[in-house]
């Protein structure tokens, strides 16, 4: 273990510079966020991830945000275990009819002010699963959405750019 730790000290951080905020996201967000909320929250946001029916691809890439290359927490963003501790819900997947109720309850359990990010092509409009008897639609068909991050799945850099856009406006 010692060797692994020493080497980590010696070679410096693997973390890469964060990408610039996603411009399309900024325009979308400017409408959604008010100044009062910014003052209250400071430069830090807590995120609760909700899988509302995804194939698990988006979850894998959201997970990657915590690895040494992307190190999400340096930006003041961190994932929390309960919606009651969250400012932001990151929702993935087409919303299945079986998850609709759980998503609504999670949304209602999140204190105001709050933002919802729809992550990935399925969260945007149901993606490849749109039209199924078991799918309620995209996230916006169930709860209000403030920002959409495209991609199938969005890669960690796209996710970071989207979150940066949120941070610039919200925090």
């Amino acid at each position: 273990m010692r060797r692994t730790l020493f080497e980590s000290f010696a070679h410096g951080p693997l973390t890469e510079p964060a990408p610039a905020p996603d411009e399309t996201g900024l325009v979308e967000l400017a409408k959604a966020v008010n100044r009062a909320a910014r003052v209250k929250l400071g430069r830090s946001l807590s995120i609760r991830q909700v899988d509302a029916g995804s194939c698990n691809g988006c979850e894998l890439e959201i997970h990657a945000l915590n690895n040494a290359f992307y190190d999400l927490e340096r930006l003041g963003l961190h994932f929390v275990a309960s919606p009651r501790h969250a400012d932001v819900l990151m929702v993935t997947g087409p919303v299945t009819k079986n998850m609709r109720e759980a998503l609504l309850r999670t949304y209602n359990a999140t204190p105001d002010p709050k933002w919802v990010i729809a992550v990935g092509a399925c969260a945007a409009d149901g993606g490849v699963f749109a039209g199924s008897y078991a799918v309620a639609g995209g996230v916006k068909d169930v709860v209000p959405v403030d920002l959409t991050i495209p991609g199938c799945p969005p890669n960690p850099r796209q996710l970071l750019a989207g979150l940066q856009a949120l941070l610039q406006n919200a925090a």
Partner: protein, 502 residues
């Protein structure tokens, strides 16, 4: 002697490949159940198909597969789960989707239908939905017991499902799972889909196994239409499959240790996982390699710089991974959590026909790459590691050994990558045809069974995730362990929700 020799058959399906499919009556169906009960074969899958139920059987020695079909004259069939519990959830799913009843089944509760679809039996004769009834969890009686409901929204960045723990103090006396939350109706979207769209749906069934699903789907189509695949494409498919296995195993090994609060391992294996995904992107333009495998071959050739990237990745893994393995093995506090935790007995694994690391950590050495096998694995050398302990530690060690095997496979693939085409268009058959494909995903064997119509469209496609036969064993593995060890047990299984719920 073949599997079907001991089963009375009415007729044989003519366009079913590569294994035979027999249509049986009640006597033949019961003989097939006898084979399962006697352990002469394991259940490889069971699915509805309008008025019939199919059951795929895998011979005890893994050398042979057969499908038996029962025609449900009055909308019902003799229950398999009444004598062979591995079929239980499959029968419940068949009832939810098709409305076909398993007569004599011990459990008639719904499984995928949670009462929100606005209809019943979406793949069979659609009926209007009844008012949703509250789900009846199994009754638990006894002094000092309490229940812990968890989910469907979990505390981590994971898929949704519900776990109902009954505990006595710290000890779990029963876990009952409730799944179906991410049911997307994939098999219904498959009906009538052209091959391109169907391949895309298969690819998006379970994101962590997107390569394996696309691989199994392509195999099923190719075998049904008797298409030939260029050798270079088969090697590229195997390269993708092994990269996918590496990425997932690195993620799992780290996550299991992280659930024992050993974050260092998680940080280190996450670096290896990220390196693997980046190499995949350099080769094929997508980190998870989604939608790369299609019937007839692969969508794009490996990028020129890709080979170098993969070789650099292997060098990096070879220089760091052995040290991490040593760290895992020499950290007493970690071993204390994984050794003898969450044991699955070999007889359960055999009875349920559990594949992947769950099966191999408990003595069942089935690996679809070896037997029945598919191109190009017959030309490559690799071992299938098997252990007997059946605990969390054994499931970690199977992954460690498989990382080593996958690296050796990638070496061979890169050294012997044939030149030539990467795609040959699949010519649809003039008549309906059926095919069965089996691919080894990182968590076990993925089965795809399909029937194409005369125009090359999908009439029926069933996708069976390995988790169907692993989830029930997690309920057994956690019994008598402490609640705090559930994350470790669960992660060591890492079953799919999306692949299971479909």
């Amino acid at each position: 002697m073949t599997l079907l020799d001991s089963i009375i058959q009415r007729e044989t399906a003519k366009q079913h490949r590569p294994w035979p499919r027999a249509i049986v009556g009640e006597d033949g169906w019961r003989q097939a159940i006898d084979l399962l009960v006697e352990g002469r074969c394991s259940l490889l899958g069971m699915w509805g198909d309008a008025p019939v139920v199919h059951m795929a059987l895998l011979a005890e020695d893994f050398r042979e597969i057969a499908v038996v079909t029962y025609v449900c004259a009055d909308g019902s069939y003799p229950s398999v789960s009444a004598r062979h519990p591995a079929a239980g959830r499959l029968e419940r799913a068949i009832r939810d989707l098709y409305g076909l009843d398993a007569v004599g089944a011990p459990d008639n509760r719904s499984w995928l239908d949670l009462g929100f679809w606005g209809m019943r039996h979406p793949l069979g004769k659609r009926a209007t939905a009844d008012k949703p009834q509250p789900y009846q969890f199994l009754p638990v009686e006894g002094e000092g017991l309490h229940q812990i409901p968890v989910g469907p929204v979990h505390a981590g960045i994971i898929e949704p499902g519900h776990f109902r723990f009954t505990a006595n103090g710290e000890h779990v006396v029963r876990l009952e799972q409730r799944l179906g939350y991410v049911h997307k109706g994939i098999e219904s979207l498959m009906e009538g889909a052209p091959l391109e769209r169907a391949a895309q749906l298969a690819s998006h069934t379970s994101g962590d196994s997107t390569v394996a699903y696309a691989f199994a789907f392509a195999q099923a189509v190719e075998v049904a239409t008797q298409a030939t695949v260029p050798p270079r494409a088969t090697y590229l498919r195997a390269l993708m499959a092994e990269l996918e296995r590496l990425a997932n195993h690195f993620g799992d090994i780290g996550a299991i240790c992280n659930d024992a609060a050993f974050a260092l391992m998680h940080a280190q294996t996450s670096i290896l996982r990220e390196g693997t995904l980046r190499a995949a992107e350099a080769c094929f333009g997508h980190r998870l390699m989604m939608d790369e495998i299609v019937p007839g071959g692969v969508v794009r050739d490996i990028a020129e710089t890709g080979v170098g990237q993969v070789q650099a990745l292997l060098a990096k893994i070879r220089s760091t991974f052995p040290r991490l393995v040593e760290l895992y093995d020499n950290t007493a506090s970690l071993q204390d959590r994984t050794v003898t935790t969450g044991i699955v007995k070999p007889e359960y694994v055999r009875q349920f026909g559990a594949g992947g690391y769950v099966g191999r950590a408990s003595g069942r050495g089935f690996d679809a790459r070896r037997m029945p096998g598919c191109a190009p694995y017959g030309q490559l050398t690799f071992d299938v590691p098997v252990l007997d302990a059946g605990d969390v530690n054994a499931r970690v060690w199977i992954r460690i050994r498989e990382v080593e095997q996958s690296m050796a496979l990638i070496d061979q693939i890169l050294n012997h990558l044939p030149a030539g085409k990467i795609y040959t268009p699949v010519k649809p058959k003039a008549k309906a045809c059926e095919g069965l494909g089996l691919a080894e995903a990182f968590r076990g064997d993925v089965l795809v069974w399909l029937r194409l119509d005369g125009k090359g469209r999908v009439e029926r496609c069933h996708l069976r995730d390995p988790s169907w036969f692993q989830w029930p064993l997690l309920e057994v593995a956690i019994k008598d362990n402490i609640v705090a060890d559930f994350p470790l047990c669960n992660k060591s299984f890492n079953c799919s929700y999306s692949g299971h719920d479909l």
